[in-house]
Symmetry: C2
Subunit: 397 residues, 2 copies
């Protein structure tokens, strides 16, 4: 029986370099974004499991006997590599009253919750009697890994409640993290949760949510970087909607049309990712201000390359111009064609310049966060150590 | 004794693709610009040679005996590959009263005139008694090959007066051109004239001035393209001064700093030049409107690449934005860092859009010409066929 009130958080992610090129076998660098998803875990009424997602208006609760019966159907034929199966998801949908094909965030989030809860408890313990609330600082659907951060938080909380991993937070501590081995287990379950939401995710988002910092991704292989600095950024959402699938297809078409012109651009992007990795890994041991102009140069070059690939957008040009007028350097992040951009804030950036840049970006109709990259991965918190804003959001449920 | 009144014209040049990359062994495409330099040739008073350059305020005339005496000193030790030698130029400066090291356009233009006149007449005939006026539509010092157009006009006129090449213009014809063999001779003398002005020119500018159209340049080898279309463009001078030497050094520095990132960009530029050559050579036989979006795409990609090389400038960004707002595509041409940009005007561009773009560019403080590329090379004209504007300019002398 779970007795403590605790919180779990996991970061979002941004692609620092290598978006689009990664689809064609080049290196990408993904970094943890310090806009986090928070999960509050409390003992629940005996025999009740409840979940609230105030951001998407979900508030559900179920009796343990019903969940145990469902778990029998879910766990019957468990083959991890194929899980969740179509049959499992159909059974969960029927139980939760979610229409087949429903793709709204609240439906997918409820489905992922039920799936992870039942599959984890089937393997490691009984259906828990807990109250879970999840709220995120991350916007959804903006390519910032919000679903992975959700799945990582759920995996950590549920594995802990079922005793599959420890509860590393000592009395009086405000935060704590799990061992490498435990993180590997959290990541693998988060990946299965991601599959419920995304079908066929790359695994990068849940890896960033779990390990934090930065990681290198190439041809399906994910390698966390050893030590990386925390860097201040502005994250700006142009709010211009785009279709990742259409943008990816456009890049492929351009490469087929002009291979001799476009392939070298991919090679250059690959080299940017690799050089950037070297700079990031050199920074903790040698935190010289000289690294920042290099990182800024990489932003500028890659932003030009992404425009050459055809994934720019007038809103992103505007973003770059506005920040350049404050001597700051930006690039799109993720799919492009709108969506989000990141702006590096070197340590010597004056608070006034940051404030002015934010105001100008907001005046363009963009949404803008001052945050960090290279943030820690999944973390266990005492509730009293959370900020008032986060506590307030979690209390809305 | 020369008896006819005729005019010679030669075009300026712009680099279509490959600026900077050409310094590092990649292909560049240079094209003839239909902003031309005009030379009017008239019989002069017996025993007098005179030259007027109304654009730079030169009006000089010399007696034949003095020139013949000087010619003796100039021609004494003639080795074409070393000509003009330092001694020859020193003698010419002394004769013309030009201070050693004087680099003003009027000093260099006078020096080149005297050198070409004496060296050509020494080889092919007597010092001619003619009146020469040269005026250009080209701005000087803007990287548009104005000195080469001047040298080409002088070479053609002086070789014709001395009988080294024919006078191909029949009575009643308005324009005529020389044979391939004669053009080769004109080009070689124009190159020597260019050396007086520029010291160590590449030979591209005088080749474009002589042959017109377009030519490919790589590793010192100049190859005129077979058949190329005439394309309408806007040529815009941002009037931002720049140092070609500093810009070239900056590119080299960037390549040394990040070879793995920058070398692929040079490869991509090389491929753009080669693909563009293919498109240009395909256009005369198949003048489909589908070629234009491809040419525009090459402009956009190369403009991004040139920014990556570090030779962009806010004024050039502005130029590209302004023309993009009229759905037109632009790139810098030449050294960058300010200087000139070119904007393609596809055949379906409405006259209103062109006018609006020109007005907006002028409102930025830029100078803007509506002109053509792929223009004819050195041409002989009857004076009566010249436009009133050109005749007026030549009559100002």
């Amino acid at each position: 029986m779970w007795r403590r009130e605790l919180a779990v958080s996991a970061p979002g992610k941004v692609i620092l370099h290598g978006e689009h090129a990664v689809v064609l076998g080049k290196v990408a660098l993904a970094v943890a974004l310090d806009l986090r998803t928070f999960l509050r875990l409390r003992p629940g009424a005996e025999g009740r499991l409840s979940v609230s997602l105030p951001g998407v208006g979900v508030r559900r609760s179920w009796d343990s006997p019903g969940l145990r019966a469902l778990r029998g159907r879910i766990a019957a034929d468990e083959d991890e590599s194929k899980s969740p199966s179509v049959e499992q998801l159909d059974a969960l949908r029927e139980f939760a009253g979610i229409a087949a094909g429903a793709s709204a965030p609240e439906s997918l989030a409820t489905l992922a919750f039920l799936y992870m809860c039942l599959a984890i408890s089937a393997k490691y313990g009984d259906v828990p009697s807990v109250e879970i609330v999840v709220w995120s600082e991350l916007p959804t659907g903006a390519g910032l890994g919000s679903s992975a951060a959700y799945a990582v938080c759920l995996a950590a909380a549920l594995l802990m409640v079922c005793g599959a991993i420890s509860c590393p937070l000592q009395e009086g501590e405000s935060t704590s993290r799990w061992t490498e081995e435990e993180l590997t287990l959290i990541n693998s379950w988060a990946f299965r949760g991601e599959r419920v939401i995304h079908g066929n995710p790359s695994g990068v988002d849940n890896a960033v949510g779990t390990w934090g910092g930065a990681l290198r991704y190439q041809a399906g292989k994910i390698t966390p970087l050893k030590r990386v600095p925390t860097l201040r950024i502005l994250l700006t959402n142009t709010k211009v909607p785009r279709s990742t699938k259409t943008l990816v297809a456009g890049v492929k078409e351009k490469i087929l049309k002009f291979p001799a012109i476009m392939n070298p651009v991919l090679d250059s992007i690959d080299a940017i990712s690799q050089e950037c990795q070297s700079v990031l890994e050199a920074m903790p041991a040698n935190p010289s201000p000289e690294h920042y102009p290099v990182l800024e140069e990489f932003f500028d070059i890659n932003q030009h390359h992404l425009n050459v690939l055809g994934v720019g957008h007038p809103s992103l040009d505007r973003l770059c111009q506005v920040t350049a007028s404050h001597s700051l350097h930006s690039k799109l992040t993720g799919a492009g064609g709108g969506g989000c951009g990141i702006t590096l804030l070197p340590p010597d950036t004056s608070p006034l310049a940051v404030e002015a840049a934010k105001q100008d970006l907001c005046a363009c109709g963009f949404e803008c966060w001052e945050t960090k990259i290279g943030a820690p991965g999944v973390t266990l918190h005492s509730c009293s150590s959370l900020s008032a804003q986060v506590l307030h959001a979690l209390a809305q449920s």
